[in-house]
């Protein structure tokens, strides 16, 4: 057992920090909450790619660096600590690249992985539908074979980053006669294809966080089928294990955490024993979430796909994020209600932003209830209902 990092790993952490601090010093961007999913900055993504930090764990022949999952943990931890605008590459780096690597043809790997790693191809996810949320397997979007093509019709919803994604990872039904889990396939769809249209959706923070995507006779060449036909549901479960695996679930609002602690130190509010206790409780809870996240990385490092481990980590961490926002609001008192654009706003309005935004964290990528079902059935071996 070893909770430490090697000298090389510590050096890498330092390297990432220096890079990010330099970016901030040059005024390239300002640290922000949710920047991993809302910080759209193609130039930043390009600079990250130049350092080889996208697809870090992928084999070098596909543009990766063949580095360890611990290195990627360090990289993402630092990106999140500084609230860096990494949304352009986050989905491709975290999960779609991995899905292509695990299930995709050699041709797909060669076409997409180097471009994701190069910061040139951004991905959005086409999973949920109006009638298929937690029960993802009931999705109705259809893909029908027509010669060398599939023709896709249907609607996807809650797609993050769709307004800048070049490609959408779409799950569609290819066998309507089969049991619902066994008739779904996964496709890479060019977001600019004829027949793809988009309606933006604004979340309760006022951010254009998602889109509804409509597919009207969209023709996709068969080579863009990822993996086996009708195996898409099993592939999406695998991908979701990775979607839930990262430190963004516990550190998505880290800039707020750091800022509220700093605020209490400077304002001397920290002398108040109630406030000390609130912040220390958050710190303890944060550390536990971090360790649950480290455990996920450790599972990956052993060569296993994290399953219930990432479900547990994500379920725990998103609830933490809600408490963090609540505590920050409580400490700021009446000032907590001031929105980012208001006069007198403390902490750049991060607290109300997180307070509102965090309501969605425990819904995306599997609700807390679905995640607990996964842990119950797969982790604890409890019987299905």
């Amino acid at each position: 057992m070893d909770f430490g990092f090697t000298e090389d790993q510590e050096r890498f952490r330092q390297e990432v920090r220096s890079f990010l601090e330099d970016e901030i010093r040059r005024g390239e961007w300002e640290p922000a909450c949710d920047a991993w999913i809302q910080g759209f900055d193609p130039e930043f993504t390009k600079r990250v790619a130049q350092r080889g930090w996208i697809g870090l764990t992928w084999p070098p022949e596909y543009g990766g660096q063949g580095r360890s999952h611990v290195d990627r943990l360090i990289l993402t931890e630092e990106m999140l600590r500084y609230g860096a605008p990494a949304a352009c590459h986050w989905f491709g780096d975290r999960q779609v690249g991995g899905a292509i690597l695990s299930f995709g043809s050699e041709e797909l790997k060669k076409e997409f992985l180097p471009r994701i790693a190069g910061g040139e191809a951004y991905f959005g996810l086409g999973m949920s539908e109006p009638g298929a949320g937690s029960d993802l397997a009931s999705l109705q979007t259809r893909a029908v074979e027509d010669g060398d093509y599939y023709v896709i019709n249907g609607q996807k919803t809650w797609t993050s980053c769709a307004y800048f994604a070049h490609y959408i990872d779409v799950y569609a039904r290819t066998d309507p006669e089969a049991p619902k889990h066994r008739g779904i396939s996964e496709f890479i769809v060019d977001a600019g294809s004829p027949g793809v249209s988009r309606i933006p959706m604004t979340d309760i923070t006022g951010t254009e966080a998602w889109s509804d995507l409509f597919f009207d006779n969209v023709r996709v060449h068969k080579k863009y089928l990822i993996g086996e036909k009708n195996r898409g549901f099993y592939q999406v479960l695998h991908q979701l294990d990775y979607e839930r695996s990262g430190m963004e679930r516990i550190m998505g609002n880290y800039p707020l955490f750091e800022a509220i602690v700093q605020y209490c130190r400077e304002s001397k509010l920290s002398r108040d024993p109630v406030i000390r206790s609130k912040l220390a409780r958050l710190q303890v809870e944060f550390e536990v979430g971090r360790l649950l996240g480290y455990r996920v990385t450790s599972v990956m490092e052993e060569g296993r796909t994290p399953n219930w481990e990432s479900a547990m980590s994500k379920a725990y961490s998103t609830e933490f994020e809600k408490r963090l926002a609540n505590v920050a609001m409580e400490i700021l008192g009446l000032y907590g209600q001031l929105m980012p654009e208001s006069r007198l706003v403390p902490l750049r309005g991060m607290a109300p932003h997180s307070y509102l935004g965090s309501k969605g964290y425990s819904l995306q990528a599997g609700t807390t209830e679905i995640l607990k079902n996964i842990v119950a059935l797969r982790g604890l071996g409890l019987p299905g209902s």
Partner: protein
């Protein structure tokens, strides 16, 4: 970063688990709780033969030369089995502080005796009126006399003092007013020891030191040991967390298997989502507790500064263990609140452990200090 145990550690764990499953059944725990001494001499001897007392001590004193992390795993198994007796007192509160603070002569005198199971040790720290362990607030006095000191004071919650051969007694030297630790003969005539009756069923004592005479050679280190005493408490807190990791893991397993077996409405109650989610909440608390405890134990074993990590582990464990016990009792239903069932052994100990060496409030304040608040 590698969070898996090594093969040797897995072997140690399995050996300990098998031994304790065999030697420490429910009837034994109950018998020990009801007995005057609270432990079995025969089993103590077997533990010596397994090398457990000496596990974490250097070879030259007869020890096994392994680290605190290995001891942590052993403590975890003891917690899992609710093992009664003075192992914790002798090793964590006695032997390790002597190893840290003692002179070579003291180490040679006391450690081999502890490792061979011939002598039992404990720590006399807390005093009347202290809600928690407060080394800085102790008032027991050590007044110089001749070539030594005379100690006067009352110590409370001293584990296993009634069977101990030596107490590490924390006192304040007069007139210098420095915290010092003395090796005191626990069987001496000026010591009055009375058992308290505790929730956890363990043996804790009130110890009155009424003019106990010690020599300068009985001092562990020099006076001015507040930081060292705080380190003893810090390590004891981690060691207590290790026991608790075993306790809560076992409670989770008992509860999950009960939920799989117990049927109502013609199906196992574990197939109901409400029960499933309770079990997952328990598992999350257990895993968070294990990871934070192992991290603190790992840092202690490496000699790294880890006040924040220790405080995190104990603060989390204190409250998480209570949530776990509440849910375990809820899922077990009425059978779990009877003396027939084993669960009470675990929930009683969990509450006692929460109070030992500082509760969650104490450690959250420590975390606050570490955060620079």
């Amino acid at each position: 970063m590698k969070l898996k145990l090594s093969e040797e550690q897995e072997m140690l764990r399995i050996a300990a688990r098998d031994f304790l499953a065999d030697k420490c059944p429910r009837a034994f725990i109950k018998q020990m709780e009801e007995s005057e001494t609270g432990y079995s001499r025969e089993m103590w001897q077997e533990m010596v033969e397994l090398g457990w007392m000496g596990l974490a001590f250097p070879e030259k004193y007869g020890g096994g030369d392994m680290g605190f992390l290995d001891l942590a795993l052993l403590l975890e198994e003891m917690g899992r089995a609710c093992l009664p007796g003075p192992f914790f007192s002798t090793v964590v509160l006695g032997g390790l502080p002597i190893l840290d603070m003692g002179s070579e002569e003291q180490k040679e005198r006391y450690l081999p005796a502890a490792i061979r199971g011939e002598k039992i040790f404990s720590l006399a720290l807390t005093e009347p009126g202290h809600r928690n362990h407060e080394p800085a607030a102790i008032t027991t006095e050590a007044t110089p006399e001749g070539d030594g000191y005379i100690i006067n004071g009352t110590k409370l919650f001293v584990p296993d003092a009634h069977i101990a051969d030596y107490l590490l007694c924390v006192a304040r030297t007069k007139p210098a007013d420095e915290v010092a630790v003395f090796m005191v003969n626990a069987r001496g005539p000026q010591i009055d020891c009375r058992l308290l009756t505790t929730l956890g069923g363990d043996k804790q004592c009130e110890v009155v030191l009424d003019g106990v005479s010690v020599s300068k050679a009985d001092l562990l280190g020099r006076p001015g040991q507040l930081a060292a005493v705080q380190r003893i408490v810090e390590r004891a807190a981690v060691a207590k967390c290790c026991e608790m990791v075993g306790n809560i893991q076992r409670v989770l397993e008992m509860t999950v298997s009960y939920a799989k077996e117990r049927k109502q409405f013609d199906r196992p109650i574990g197939s109901f989502q409400a029960i499933q989610h309770y079990c997952v909440d328990m598992a999350t608390d257990v895993d968070g507790a294990r990871l934070s405890t192992y991290r603190a134990a790992w840092m202690l074993s490496k000699g790294l500064p880890c006040t924040g990590e220790v405080a995190t582990a104990k603060a989390w464990m204190g409250e998480a263990s209570q949530r776990i016990m509440d849910l375990a009792h809820q899922i077990h239903g009425a059978i779990g609140v009877t003396m027939e069932h084993d669960l009470h052994f675990y929930s009683r100990r969990a509450k006692a452990a929460e109070l030992a060496y500082g509760d969650a409030d104490v450690y959250r304040e420590m975390v606050a200090q570490e955060m620079g608040l």
